[in-house]
Structure formats: structure tokens, C-alpha cells
Amino acid sequence: MTTLTILAPQCYEDVQAAICEHGRIFVRGASSKPALAPPSVDGDNAALLDMRGLRGVVEYEPGEFVFTARAGSSLREIAALLAEHGQHLPFDPPLVDQGATLGGTIAAGLSGSGRHRYGGLRDFLIGVRFVDGQGRLVRGGGKVVKNAAGFDLPKLMIGSLGRLGVIVEASFKAFPQPPAYATLRVTQPSLDAALTTIARLNGSNFDLEALDLVFEEERPTLYVRQGGFAAALAERQERLRSWLGGGEPLPEPEEAAFWSAGREFTWAPTTWALVKTPVTLSVLPALDQVLQAAGAQRRYVAGAALAWIAWPGDLGHLDAYLIQLQLGGLVLRGEAEWPFVGVRNGASLIARVKRVLDPFHRFPIL
């Protein structure tokens, strides 16, 4: 066994050369999702690409609400630049403060609570450039908000975990950031009641930026976020409050702190595994029973479309439970040989794509 060669590409050609010169390639952004990070040691002729040197915004015209940046750029710097112009990525990419990179976010396929209203990462990524396992620099999508030309290669990069190609550049559309936010905290007598409230809200015409269900000392609590012009917000919140039959507005500093804690997973014990699981309202009662019994901490975000699970024990057990429930998950933190738990759809299609983009098996299996 030899130590992994660590390379820090500075340009796209460096990435191409590194891939062609090595038999095995691992990629890392800022390792904010350590379970997805490569092993520290591997066989011969393996290289770890640290993408953080490949940073910087390539193109950003604020009036266009579109930007293109290199994959190693930190989300923090991108978010700051967008904020200067009153813009943001509304899907709330996680781990911004912990240094997550643009490429790592795409490759991990992560969206946060803010995906509730306008959609997730997949709905905002409009173009990518990546280097495939043959060292070819490939572009898919474009730099305009609407584009139907060619196959949608950016979608293949979402959740590809550095196993289909190395993303070197990405284009996103941005949205105007609401000038103000307000959040209502609504405690619920039971999980069923909470899910019923979510279903009612789903059928209502309130425009919600986010809708999270969390457990505070095991008490189900909804956090309902609205955004818009400050002048209209108080009245909108009051209307929502009376429709819900209660709820307590979060004061200003707490409001922002709640959502940023969600984004950074400060609620999850650092020594526990952290798992993302797509869910639906109907499967939640059964899932929650398992999680509660195991003493897991959890948040159901985006109108209960997405479960974040902090799992205290052996991930093998969670894997078995998820299979029973026909759910699948991605391990972001924790001891996992393989980042996926539970069931997986489309494995044979992934294998077909993998044979095209990585015929020499340079990247880990997917």
C-alpha cells in the first residue's frame, strides 16, 4: 500500500492530466461530508484531487440572475457575492459555513429546507463542465435559464459523488432573495397531527419558503417560513397564524439562527452518523416509529419531502429498516464503506452511464 498522491489542480487541463496519469481517482471539495470523502490510503497509482484550488467566479452578470463558477469555489464566497446583489440560491445548500464547495454540493446532490418552494439543486443547476474518466472535458447544459439542447448532462452530475466525472465548472440560475423573512413556530400534539397540518398547508395557497418538522424534547414542532416585502410580512404571518389556529412568531435573531442551524446540522450530534433520506408524507409515520425507537434525532424538511437522520448506532440497522420501508438514503457522516443505504432505483441505468463516463474504472464504483 502506498499513500494517496494529493494533487491540487489549478486549471481544467490539470484535472485532465491527473486523470489520464492515474489508475484511480478520488475527488474532494472541502470534506464537509466526510462519509463521502475518499479513503486516506489506497492501492498503487491513485490520486486524490483536492478541488479547492480551482476556485473563482468565471461569469456573473447580476441583472441576468445567472452565474458560472469553478467547482472548488466555496459556497460561502458565492453566497456572499450573490447577497451583495440581493440574490441567493433558494434551495438552501447545506454546510455553507463548514466550507462546502460548489462541486461537492452538486456531487453530493444536496438541497436544504429552502427547496420547499422553488425546487432543489436540480432545478437551479443549468450547466456543467466536467472531466470524465477518459480525461475528456465535457460540457452539458448552458448559461441561460432555459435550454433544451442536447441531453441534460448536468442532471447526471447531481449526486454522482465524484464517481462519474470531476466537475470543474458549474452554472446556476439565482433568484432574488426575499427582503425579509418571518417564521412561525407551531407545536403539535402528535406526529399525526403535524402531518395533517403539513397536508393542509400543501393544499392551501400560502406561499411558504420552508416548512420543517422538528422534535423538541420529542414534541413535534413545525417551523413555517414566509418571505417577501417586510411591509406585507406581519399581516401575512398573522393570516397564516389564524388559519393554523395558533403559533408563535420567532423573534428576529432566533429566526435566522434556526434556519442556519438546520443548514449546518448543528442539531445533530457530531459523533453520530448523518443520513439524507427522501420521504413522503405517507411513509413518515412508519419511518418515525423506527427512528424514535432507535433514539435517532431527525428533522423532516421541505414539507416532509426530505428526512435528515442523525443515527446513533450501527448504520447496518438503519439500512435494514430503510429497505423494509422501501426507502433509500445517502450517508453524509459516519462510518460507511458505501455511502448508500436502503433501496436504490435505476442501478442498471447508472451502470450503463458509468461504462460510458468511466470505462477504465478510475473512479470508485457508483
Partner: protein, 482 residues
Amino acid sequence: MNLDGLLSELERRVPADRLLRKSAQLAPYESDALTAFRSRPAAVLLAERQEEVIQAVRLCHRYGVPFVARGSGTSLSGGSLPVENGLVIALNRLNRILRLDPAQRIAVVEPGVINLDVSRAAAPHGLYYAPDPSSQLICTIGGNVAFNSGGAHCLKYGMTVNHVLGLKVVLADGEVVQLGGESLEQVGPDLTGFFVGSEGLFGVALEITLRLLPKPECYRTVLAAYGSLQAAGDAVASVVASGLLPGAMEIMDALAIEAAEAAVQAGYPRDAAALLIVELEGERIQVEAEFAHLMQVIEGSNPKTVAVAKDDADRARIWKGRKSAFSAVGRLSQDYLVQDGVVPRSRLGEALATIERLSQDYGLRVANVFHAGDGNLHPLILFNGRIPGELERAEALAGEIIQMCIALGGSITGEHGVGMEKRQHMPSMFTETDLQVMAELRRALDPDELANRGKMFPQGEAPALHAHGPHPLEAQGVISRM
């Protein structure tokens, strides 16, 4: 290719009235809405069950016969043009809404379901299906999925792909795969998103899980008239830059206004060079605040007149004009070509001015009616096919418009797809390597290139492509493989 083998197998399995073979029966399938292209299939299968589609695809694979899936045939790019002597699998009869779950806001549908029928079924629950192509009265969800179709109201909540959560698909070699699911989120490569927009080249979508949205509490629809097309384009750029997020932003030029008025009497101002429709949607209190802001921006854009829809009927009238404008312009001239390029929103005014100039240079009328909010142009180039040379001039003009879109950093198509018509423009948007990788991906899903053969890729495709050469850096001796 063993066509007789396929046909005799199909004849044994499908009642004769659902396997069309006679010339008169085949004629309606010879082209799609881009009638300039025509070709005759060997047969049309009117499928009624998913099993029949799967079986037909497997038989095509076994006998090496190309097939084309067909919804309502409203493609504007020759996407559903049959392959000569191939099979057309018509999906209109596969039109059941299998499930509608208002609590989870999803609908599971078969591919032949008409776009508008999804919104109709969802309406009693206060929900709707957002993507609204102007053809929504007839086009199918399967066709929408294949082209990632858009519509006037795709500005805020996105195109078809943003609303497709899961798919059941039969790949061109007969394997049936399930992609995505019922959750808004997923793990792993976004295969659902990858299939959407693949223009029928991967296989046939059999079942589609759609996301529904709650109907907005209120709308505010503003109609502003401008003295020039460029001014209307510039107004769009200022609305976008102002940070407002309208539900729709559409432009029509004088020719389109005239045609729409003749067709449906929408009550548009007749003397305007261009009309801009901007629609806000959402909670009433928020929309009122946005409306005040919008009116300031519009007033600063130097309009000739501004009108606001007074009530639902007024709003419906404005939209009726817009949605019928497209086919109405078609009636002004027997022959026309539609382009579908995209430019950055901040360059709209400039792009429109260029189109006007090109129209004059070529001596051909061009009507514009399009999704301005996302920079998606729809110039309709009117010509008379009976005048020798006019078709060629129209095609040359269309080519110049496409090249302009690319030069401005845009795209050759926003929603109509590449199909047959824009194949030759793909190389000006993508490198040889990009196209090579796309072709390899296609063959990974459809090794014999049976599904919609001849579309999207330049100059038609020969199944056997040259073997992978060395990487350019390898060729130069800069790098080497281990």
C-alpha cells in the same frame, strides 16, 4: 432489420384496427407540426396498455426495426417525424390518470394524458400542473417529458423537468426501469432529470409522477404597450433586474397582435409595436406590494399605455389572445418556420432589434410572440413556399437568428427541442467531444439506435462510430495512460 418479422408478430398480438398499415391510415402520421418534413412509417401501433408498448419495443429490438413514440404530434422540430419504414407507437390512448394524491400534491399519469387534463383533474383540490405550453389543449405529458416543454408560466416554477419526480420507462432495448419516485428529493444521479428532454432517444416513458402546485390566491396581470420591440425587450430586462419574480412575462409584436385580434378579439391596443404581459401571482398581500413595485419599473420603461386586468374575465381575455397568437400568426401565411432560440434576458432588446433588421434584409415578415421572461424567442418567419427560393431564404434567415442566439451566449432551443430540424446546429453549441459523449450515452441506453433514430445528432447517425481515439493531450504526448 427484419420488418416483416416484426409486423407478423405484431399482427398476431394486436387487433387489426389498432395496427395501421394502409396508406390512408398512415398519412396523418407522416409529419408532426413541422410539416416541412414528411416520411412514411411501415405501421402505426395504437397502444392501449403499457404492456403492449413494452412488447412492441422488445419486438423492435429483436427485429432491428426503428420506432418513434408519438403523443399528439404537435412537435415543432420534427421530433415525432416517423422513421421511414419504421414503427410509430402512438400513445394517445394510454391516457389514464392513475393516481392523484392532493395531500402529497402528486399525480401519477400515463404518457398519453393531455397536459391540460392534469390541471383539470387537480382543480377540485385547489391544485394545478404548472407547465402550460400553448398547445396544452392537445399535447401529451409524454411529449412534454421528451422535450422538457415549457410555457408562459414556467418563469417562476420551471419547465417540465422541475415538475417530474419519477418515471417508469421502457428503454430502447426492452429493459423496464423505475427512476426517481414520489418524493421531491432523491439520492444518486438524477436519472429522472436525465431522461426528461432526451427527445425519445432513450426509450418510451410509460408512467410519469408529476408534482402539483397550489393555485395562487391571486393574480395581477399588466398589459403594457411599447413603441418598439426593443423597448419591450428592455422593459423585460429591467423587470428581471429589479428583483421581482413574476409568474409570467410574455411579449407579442405588432404582427402577432394583429393576428391575435383577428382570431379572438382580445382587446389589445392596435397601434402598439409591441405588447408586454407581466403577471404577478401569489398571496394577495404580497402581490399588492409587488404590484406597486412593478408599476414603478414599468412606468420607468417608457410605455405608450399601461392597462391592468380588472377581473378574472379580463385576465382570461388577455391570456386567450396570447395563447392563440401562435396559431393565429400561422393563419397569416400558409408557410412559416418557427425558431426557438434563447438569449440572455439582459440582451433581449438587442436580439429583437437584430431580428427586425434581418427581417428587412431578407424581405420576409417575422412575427414575434414569446416567453420573454426567460429570454426564449419564438420568431415566426412567414414565407410563401410557392415562390421559388423563398423557403431557402426563410431557412437562411432562421439560421442567422440561431447563430445570433449562440453568439449572445444563449441556446439554439429553449423548449421545442432539436428534433430533426436543428440537428445541424448542435455543433455550433457543443464541441465534438460533447456530442461524442452524448452519442455514447445514447448508445449505452439504445445500442442499436432504434428509438427515434436520426434525431438530435448532426447528419443522421451511422450506428458504428469510429473507435475512441486518444485524448488530444495524449496525442500530443503531454500525458499518457497507465
